[in-house]
Symmetry: C2
Subunit: 265 residues, 2 copies
């Protein structure tokens, strides 16, 4: 089984309750990679028999580190409207909440459409070096990351810009879906590392992802690379923000994603 | 009493429960202005005796329209960490949930700081015409809005850009605080109106605001105008996103805010 799908294996344990477990392949410095947790919460809602429509918006709040082992997810339908549906999701271990989320699923309808932003102009992934991050974190091996701009600093040099742009896909390749897109929305190492040219303690507190692509547009991506670009807007008294765009190789804007990150330094 | 503070009047009704009521001054086309609801949820957490720190991040999900009359807010501390605190908040009427939110409060610490984005260059508010929106919505009267760019269209002309920039402050003026900032983060009329040059059915589904300013920086704003700028990034199959910056008159980035909006057209 693909390591991504292995992490998303959930068994129903009661009405709206699911049981899952951490897998060693997704270990981060403390607990699992936040992206795989976000993906697991998307999957839990997708599995719910009352699920109505496709993911539109997801906010995941990282409350406390998830310990190695089993966890419980409770998915609660707050309300099902005609065109959308609101969820509250909580992941806990031994009764202690580790992650909270709200999700909005919705029906997609044909409307006028336009994308105002444009993707960064970068060389193709085939012409970009696959990079190994300068320090070993287990989950990095699950992605093929090819940095066009703002690779993780390994020389102590400060940067005036917090922008990182990379091609990224699952390693081994795997078809794109909403869970995979939720995960890759959190692919970026902390922007403060790039600005300061060094590792400092930092961790995502909350991430919000808006899904612009529908299921057909995601399926059309196949297992191709995604062009992911992110920057911080402000660093202030212990927290910074990050705003990101996830582009399909066909220049479809798949998602925009925002997060607030705790840091010291 | 100032109409803003009148809308935020809450009485404790039980442990972590609050009772409030809609006020006619904040009426939108359906239910109250979303910004005043967001502000009320911030205030409910601020009133909680276990509140720890200042607002860092707020996500508000508009589940169903709030009817005229009383409402109940339940504030639940999910976890208090050393430096931050996670909340789940629900607003309901007669037991039916109308709004959900997650909030992160945190302690601010002295760290390295930098703002990477820059405010739009526009004339001072004193040199900008206070504008009356072309159709009457009650809550608009609670703000003095002076559009530098992207005023609400009244001539049917489509626009190639969804960007709106305005100076805005409470009317009558009122000192800035976190609740007021949460409200003004939702000040923008739907971006699809600007692109299409006309009113179409649209409504915010979810808004996320990151507070970059701390309480001292907010207090320093006094009752001055805020420079608010927003744009959409993508319109796709029934939903579009909006990303916004709220600047103090002293060029402090007070907040960044993001939302996803339902639309027809």
């Amino acid at each position: 089984m693909h390591p991504f799908d292995k992490a998303l294996e959930l068994e129903p344990s009661d009405d709206g309750r699911w049981r899952g477990r951490t897998v060693p392949e997704w270990a981060n410095m403390v607990g699992p990679f936040g992206g795989i947790t976000a993906a697991t919460l998307v999957r839990a809602v997708e599995l719910h028999p009352q699920r109505h429509g496709q993911p539109i918006a997801l906010t995941v709040n990282y409350v406390a580190p998830i310990a190695d082992g089993e966890f419980d997810i409770v998915t609660r339908v707050v309300k099902t409207n005609r065109s959308n549906q609101h969820w509250i999701v909580e992941l806990s271990q031994d009764g202690e909440v580790k992650t909270t989320a709200t999700a909005i699923f919705g029906l997609r309808r044909d409307t006028w459409a336009d994308t105002e932003v444009t993707p960064p102009q970068v060389p193709a992934p085939e012409d970009t070096v696959a990079s190994a991050p300068p320090f070993g974190v287990v989950w990095f091996d699950n992605y093929d990351m090819r940095f066009a701009d703002g690779a993780m600093p390994d020389d102590g040099a400060e940067s005036g810009s917090s922008t990182t742009t990379l091609w990224v896909r699952n390693n081994p390749p795997r078809p794109m879906d909403f869970a995979a897109l939720a995960s890759v929305s959190d692919i970026f190492y902390p922007r403060v590392f790039l600005r300061q040219g060094q590792f400092v303690p930092a961790g995502t507190v909350s991430i919000t992802t808006y899904f612009h692509a529908d299921d057909e547009q995601l399926a059309a991506q196949g297992d191709e690379f995604v062009l992911a670009t992110a920057r911080a807007q402000a660093f202030s008294r212990g927290y910074f923000d990050q705003t990101a765009h996830l582009w399909g190789r066909d220049a479809t804007l798949l998602a925009t994603s925002h997060q607030v990150v705790y840091f010291k330094g």
